[in-house]
Each structure stands twice: as C-alpha cells, then as structure tokens.
Symmetry: C2
Subunit: 238 residues, 2 copies
Amino acid sequence: MATDENVSLWERLERPAPTPRQVLSPQRIATAAVAIADAEGLEAVTMRRLAAELSVAPMAPYRHVSGKDDLLELMVDHVYADLSLPDGLGWRENLRTLAVRTRRLMLDHRWLAQLPPQAKLSLTPRRMAVAEKALAALDDLGLDADAMMSAFRTVDAYVHGSMNYESAVTTLIAEQNLSDGDELRDTLAPLMMWHMRTGRYPTFQRYLHTAARKDDTQWQFESGLDCVLDGIAARLGL
Amino acid sequence: MATDENVSLWERLERPAPTPRQVLSPQRIATAAVAIADAEGLEAVTMRRLAAELSVAPMAPYRHVSGKDDLLELMVDHVYADLSLPDGLGWRENLRTLAVRTRRLMLDHRWLAQLPPQAKLSLTPRRMAVAEKALAALDDLGLDADAMMSAFRTVDAYVHGSMNYESAVTTLIAEQNLSDGDELRDTLAPLMMWHMRTGRYPTFQRYLHTAARKDDTQWQFESGLDCVLDGIAARLGL
DNA sequence: TCCCCAATGTGTACAACGTATTCGCGAGAG
DNA sequence: CTCTCGCGAATACGTTGTACACATTGGGGA
C-alpha cells in the first residue's frame, strides 16, 4: 500500500505533514508533471519520466500519490489555480467569463482535453471552488436547484465539447510543426480530397470553398457560446 | 510496412479485395473489437485480446489495420452505421434528432467518449455522411456557410460535452455494479462528504439537498439541448 | 545522551502492452 | 506444374504501471 487507503487524496493533503524534511512533495510533483505535459503532451507524462525530472528513483513519487490516476487529479487541481472568477458580475457575464477562461485554460494546457474519463469526473478542490462560484452567480434569480444546475451544466458541456475539438486540432497542428489552419488542411488534404472526390458530401464541400471564418477559432467558440447563453436566458426567463 | 503507406484507410477499403478467401476482414475485426469494447470497456480492447477473440495470432490483424489508431477509427465508423437521420425534417427537428440519436449511440457504446483525441478527429465515411446530412438540413435557409457550420458545431459541441460527462458517470456506475445514482452517491459519499464538511461549497450543497431531477439524465440532456436550439433560432433569426 | 521507529526514497522485478520482423503456407495466374 | 504473392504465425524487443523488499535518516521517549 503506497498510501493510506480509504482516505481521499485531498483529505490526506490537508492533514499536517508528519515530517517537514521531504525532498518530494505533492506540490513539486504536480508542478513537474504539468511542465512535462505542457511541453510534450500527456503521453510524455510517465512515472519514470516524472521521477527523472525530479532527480529521484522511479518509484519515489508513489509515496505521495497512490498511482497514475492520483497524479492526473493532482495535475488538474494544480492548473485550475489559474482559473479565477471575478465577483459582482451578473449571471450571464459570470457564465460567459467562466467559459472564456476555461477555454484559455484548456488552450494553455491542451492535455486537459485528453484526460481519461475518471480524471474528468474528479472532484478536486479547485474545480469544486470554480463550480461553486459559478453556481452562486445563478443563485437569487428565483430558479429552482434543477434549473440552476441545468444552466451551469449546459454551458459547461458546450465549453468542454467545443474545446475537445479545438484543442485536438491545435495539438495536431503543433505536433506536425504547421503554422496555421491552411497548412493543416494541406496535410489532411489527401484524405479530405479523397472524401470530396466521392461527391457524397456536396454541402460540406461548399462550406470548404465559401466559408470565411474557417480558422477563426475564437469567433467560432464565442458565437456558439452566445447562442447557448441566449438560449438559457430565453428558456429560464432571465 | 503492414499496409500501403500514404493511402488512407478508407481509400484502401473501397478498392476491390484482391483475394476473396480471407478469414480476417476489416468487417470481422471491427465487429469483434466493438463487441469487446461494449462488454468490457475500451481498455479491454487490446491487439492481443482482439486476435484471441478472432482465434488468430496476435499480429494477424495488422494485415488489415496499420495499428491501433486505425483500429479505433474502424470501430467508430462501424457503430456510426446505426446513426441515421430521417429526411424531410425542418432544421430544428433535424438537429434535435441528430443530438438525441447521437446520445443514444454514445450510451450504447460508452467507449466512444473515451477515445484518444486523434480518433475523435477522425473523418470516417459514416461520420462524414451524418455531418453532411445535418448540414444539408441547414441549407436553403439563407445562412452563409460560417453560420451554418456554427449552428451545427454548437449542437455537436453540446452533445459531446454532455455525453462525455454522462457516459463517464454511467461507466462508473456499471464498473462498480451499482444500480442507480443513489448508490453512486453512496460510493462517492466519503469524498463528497469531506468536501461538504469543509463548508466551502454552500450553493452546491443546497443543490444536493433540494434538487429533484438529479438522476433524470434524459431530462438534463434534453433541457440543455432545447436551450441550445432556442439560442440558435434566436441568434440566426430562424 | 542514546536509541529506535516511522516516514521516505532506492533497487529490482514482473506482467502486459504495441508492434517490427521474419517466416511458411497455399491458392490463382501463366 | 510452377511461381509468386497475399495472409496468417511465431518470435522478440522496448516501454509502461506498479508490487515488493530494502536502506536511510532524523526526531522523540528512555
């Protein structure tokens, strides 16, 4: 047993450290792991690689983290420190800045979109804090609990779905050292051209030829986001 | 070189098979892989396990699929055969049934939400066909190409973001042999209780105590979806 | 002051994974 | 009949997560 079983990661971390002389700490581990993931992608985050980066034996981190799942949760919580929401905004501005800043966070850390599902469900303290703050902004509007959560979750679902796609594209561009969307399309061209030559996708093809904002990812994100917010306002009578 | 390099998977598949006597085929491979993933989750889909299921040597599938990435794309295309859209619907009903049927598909195959990012970007024929059909329903409404794609992508992002979460929860419930959401909450209770006992999340806590539709996942999905559709209608003047 | 024990990092090891490579068979074309 | 080439078999290698036993070290009770 590497660590105390039956006790959550977060519970353990908030207990006082028994001995203050450790070279390794959850903080240092998280920082190093995030640095690797930011620089080389999530697949480069290996227990061995992490240990090497910390100048420590491969199994050393296991004293502070019960396994790779724990490590991923630690990384998530670590980067969510950068996501803060200002006070005093109306519900709409609040949800909107939540969305925009979450996008920023996921572009700064593209591996967030690639996490295995249990890490996405993880209830880390800082994620809880963000959710709490966003929910609080929906309080006092006369909505019942279900409607409040529905509004929050709808925005959240849109943001994550959107960023799943956008950060995958961005990652692909970065991996192949391409400079922009045009070069990406050139790389994917053989496959895409083959699809188009079948003549089965005329509408799609017309989009490819006539669209003007194919690469304006921020416009795409925000225009969809405003749709979602409009819909929430209309349906909840806000 | 397992297969012809520089030629896309789909291009290869639509060329006539050189010899019709093969015991292995992309069809059989896809069916077997999907069966494993449906029954035991994506992590059970191993090249060795797949080969065993087909009573074949571990390396045999590589003759038809250039690697695991190809296999995953094949699996995606295979299940998308079940997603059809009726003709003659208005734009809104069309996007709505697209969303609802995609949800159905992702609940029937929960591993769809866990695919690595490059498999999510994959342009498989059947996925292309679905997108084409959905886009076609937005044609002839006087929208420019960017607006059409924006509407489609907004719904798509919401659906995927929503299902990412829902299918992760469903998977968690299934993995632990729980019967419903209440039992799930009991399992997560120690962690959740600890978070709540900190008193840092009062709004969240009130939601947990007063919400009535916490487990009505279909209502949650569809109420958010209707928000999104309302928003699209309003913003695009439809 | 000394000693001992719990906490922490080290070293070795194993099973499982994806896949490169090399072989041998067996059927269709000439 | 033979040649050849498509397809599956066999073997093997490097990398991964992590179990387990050991060494070390520093602070509190004697």
